[in-house]
């Protein structure tokens, strides 16, 4: 895998995660902000052993344990499918072309086929540029919403945060990509991962904060806080600017799906080199099919339950296994001498 910079990794992960954040389906109150902060802290704690206990590169691990690669491929297929499912559920009709949601998904899948074929390095280079555009649009969104902010609508709550922790976790599929992509980062891997986790949490808190304070009761009724916020935040006086967020919407979804497809391609290439050419189109088809049949909450449940296994249990068990092997080796060498 080509080497990338740590800030590029942080940008890739953040943009993929930001897609999930803009698709948060409902607003439950100020406790959601507390939940997000707690979830972010838990994620940082979960990532520490994954990064600290890495045993060799991921490529070497999946070459020796093919089942491991297959598990990760299935997980990223679910993440990608969830992305498409979110696209169908979250996108207001005016955001997508008149030809319909299925056409939109197919067009995005075709685009992702090209973007994933450009390779990880191209994704890494594109990510900071997309990030810049995204930050500009976020600034415009915040400036537009600023005049509607009413701080009395928010209150510090330490209750009702458990569901939001679960939601935040189920929207963090890209965490599993950390282990795989950290192989390709030159240095300061932990900085990249921490930057991603913190910036994603900040973005999520910003959206929740402005949704609660600027949207008020409307947000609870409408759902999809980000999209309602774009409708409320109108920086121009005489015209509506929501349509401009289509560009953000498209960029984030492509980054999200490209990441999943790119990683599947990489794993497939390691396990079965012959599958290199076909892995991207096949994986995109296998993302679209479940997305068409399953609702996003089913897919999010699957992500929520499998994430701890992938980011904590597997890395830990591999480390323990290696440790046991090294002890056995030592004993064997003692016997010889």
């Amino acid at each position: 895998m080509n080497k990338i910079h740590n800030h590029q990794l942080a940008a890739i992960l953040f943009l993929s995660g930001a897609w999930s954040v803009i698709c948060i389906p409902s607003l439950s109150g100020s406790g959601q902000i507390t939940g997000t902060i707690i979830a972010c802290l838990i994620q940082i704690i979960c990532c520490l052993p994954m990064l600290a206990l890495r045993t060799g590169t991921f490529s070497n691990q999946i070459k020796t344990h093919k089942w491991l690669g297959i598990i990760y491929i299935l997980f990223f297929l679910i993440c990608g499918a969830n992305g498409f499912s979110q696209l169908w559920e979250a996108a207001p009709p005016q955001l997508l072309p008149s030809s319909g949601k299925l056409t939109a998904a197919v067009l995005i899948a075709l685009t992702c086929f090209y973007t994933s074929s450009a390779g990880l390095r191209a994704t890494a280079r594109a990510a900071p540029i997309v990030m810049g555009l995204f930050l500009i649009s976020l600034t415009v969104l915040i400036l537009g919403a600023w005049k509607r902010v009413d701080l009395s609508r928010i209150s510090f709550q330490m209750t009702d945060f458990l569901p939001s922790i679960r939601t935040y976790f189920s929207l963090s599929g890209e965490l599993a990509a950390v282990w795989i992509l950290s192989d390709s980062v030159r240095n300061h891997k932990n900085t990249a991962v921490n930057s991603y986790l913190i910036s994603k949490a900040i973005f999520c808190i910003l959206i929740l904060f402005f949704s609660i304070t600027a949207g008020g009761r409307l947000m609870y009724l409408n759902g999809y806080p980000f999209f309602t916020l774009t409708a409320l935040s109108q920086p121009l006086q005489g015209q509506r600017a929501d349509a401009l967020y289509i560009l953000v919407f498209v960029m984030l979804h492509i980054m999200h799906t490209t990441l999943q497809t790119g990683i599947i391609e990489h794993i497939a290439e390691q396990i079965y080199p012959i599958a290199e050419k076909w892995s991207a189109p096949v994986s995109l088809i296998f993302m679209l099919i479940p997305a068409y049949f399953f609702k996003s909450d089913i897919l999010e449940d699957m992500i929520f339950y499998s994430l701890p296994v992938l980011i904590l249990i597997i890395p830990l068990s591999l480390r323990i296994r290696q440790f046991m092997k090294s002890i056995q080796k030592k004993e064997y060498s003692h016997e010889i001498f």
């Binding site: 072309p97 973007t115 594109a126």
Partner: protein
């Protein structure tokens, strides 16, 4: 060509030469006896200066004292007669013909298994003049010519340092075109230089008639919209590139030099930027960045907003556009594509025609077709305005004309079919295409992606020379290692 070494009697050598060139009319063989030795002076008609040949070759040869044998004759020629500054010893027919066709006079003597060549080139060539492209207000007004050695001297005059190295070689199996690699020995990335030489050596083209023949071999990324090797006609620009550790390739017969690697950001930089005050240079840079996006996106955005997202427009604009478009018989995307294709046809016609007729083309296209199309209601005025602004904006970065033209049309189609959604999709494809473009490990998107904050002093702004004189930037900073 024959790799065979020169051997045999003088008659046999001359017979062999006649046989290889099939008695070509432009090969002149003059048999003379000089210093008592029978020899022949070979030249190619029209390639040598008659005056120089008489002064430096014929007269010294005829006045040469009698020599005991041909070995002494050649030694005397080489050591005692300064006939020319460039006088290689020729050992095979391959080199003999290459030199002969490059304007050298070749002396073959009885009993010698080598020949002596003398550089007395005197072919007609275009004198140094202002380049047709890359116009510059304040910089030098001389440009490269078609002669590689003249071009070498133009660069050398500006870089009087032994660190600047020229490496002459040939390309093209039949044309044997002279090419010259130029680089600063202390700044060029050695790995890139090695790879470039390897690529050039592996080329199996029969002829190299312009820089475009070699460019694809130096661009490592296939399917890219953007160039990763740039062209320049200006020796001052080439010097600035050399100072940044780049490799310049001069090609005989082409007034365009190839610069490896290219960064996209260079398409927005001109030498005039370094003459203006920094604040104005920075301003003009941002105007160019804006013009680039206008050139690609303006017609597409106009179509997408008018057709799919009219809520983005205010009421006055909507009324104006609706009124204008109601009268037009064609749909908005069809109309725009038609206008752009007409423009491309007119541009092509203007480029290829003689200058005198070119003016007539402008009158016919601008006044007659343009005016008639609008007044007959075939084309709407707002759409024509958008297209004209976009085309003019494209002139700001002539270097990017090819990708801008194609992308403009593609964005119009995407915007017309799917509105901003389509523009977003195509935008991501173009971004990935751009980000995947690199040559010899140098991404064209550097220093933006990957981001180098230090480089922003000459990208986002243009700092003054007091600050720019420090830093010793070389392009090697942007090199990305694999694995």
């Amino acid at each position: 060509m024959e790799q065979e070494t020169i051997s045999g009697t003088l008659e046999e050598i001359l017979a062999k030469i006649r046989q290889i060139c099939k008695n070509s009319s432009d090969i002149l063989i003059n048999r003379i006896t000089a210093g008592g030795i029978s020899c022949a002076v070979l030249t190619c008609e029209g390639m040598c200066s008659t005056a120089i040949m008489t002064e430096l070759l014929i007269r010294p040869l005829t006045e040469m004292p009698v020599q005991p044998d041909s070995n002494t004759f050649f030694q005397h020629l080489q050591n005692h007669l300064l006939l020319s500054l460039d006088r290689p010893v020729v050992r095979n027919f391959d080199d003999l013909f290459r030199l002969l066709y490059s304007g050298f006079a070749v002396i073959v003597a009885e009993g010698q298994q080598t020949a002596l060549a003398f550089g007395i080139q005197g072919y007609d060539k275009r004198s140094v003049s202002e380049p047709s492209g890359e116009a510059n207000l304040y910089g030098a007004h001389d440009g490269l010519t078609e002669t590689v050695r003249t071009n070498m001297s133009l660069i050398r005059r500006r870089m009087k340092t032994p660190l600047l190295k020229f490496e002459l070689s040939t390309a093209g199996n039949l044309s044997q075109t002279d090419i010259c690699l130029c680089y600063m020995t202390d700044r060029v990335p050695p790995q890139m230089l090695r790879q470039i030489k390897k690529e050039l050596n592996a080329i199996e083209l029969d002829t190299v008639l312009s820089s475009g023949y070699l460019q694809p071999f130096l661009e490592k990324c296939r399917g890219s919209l953007f160039d990763s090797v740039s062209l320049s006609q200006r020796p001052d620009v080439l010097c600035s590139k050399l100072l940044e550790g780049r490799v310049v390739l001069l090609i005989d017969g082409s007034p365009f030099a190839l610069v490896i690697p290219k960064l996209l950001i260079e398409s927005f930089q001109t030498l005039d930027d370094y003459h203006h005050k920094p604040y104005y240079a920075a301003f003009s840079r941002w105007v160019k960045y804006g013009a680039f996006f206008i050139a690609i996106l303006l017609p597409a955005l106009y179509i997408a907003v008018s057709m799919h997202h009219p809520e983005l427009l205010n009421s006055t604009l909507i009324l104006i556009l609706t009124d204008a478009e109601q009268k037009a018989p064609l749909s908005l995307p069809t109309e725009t594509i038609f206008v752009l294709l007409m423009y491309e046809i007119i541009r092509e016609a203007g480029l290829r025609l003689p200058k005198a007729v070119g003016g007539a083309v402008s009158i016919v296209s601008g006044l007659i077709i343009g005016d008639a199309a609008v007044s007959s209601g075939l084309i709407s005025t707002p759409m024509l305005t958008m297209t004209a602004i976009s085309v003019i904006a494209g002139f700001v970065t002539p270097d990017l004309n090819a990708p801008v033209t194609v992308m403009r049309l593609l964005f119009i189609i995407a915007g017309g079919l799917w509105g901003l959604f389509g523009i977003g999709l195509l935008g991501m494809i173009v971004l990935y295409n751009l980000c995947a473009t690199e040559t010899f490990g140098f991404p064209v998107t550097a220093p933006l992606a990957p981001f180098y904050s230090r480089a922003m002093r000459d990208v986002a702004t243009r700092v003054n020379f007091h600050r720019m004189q420090y830093g010793n930037f070389t392009v090697e900073e942007y090199h990305e290692q694999n694995s």
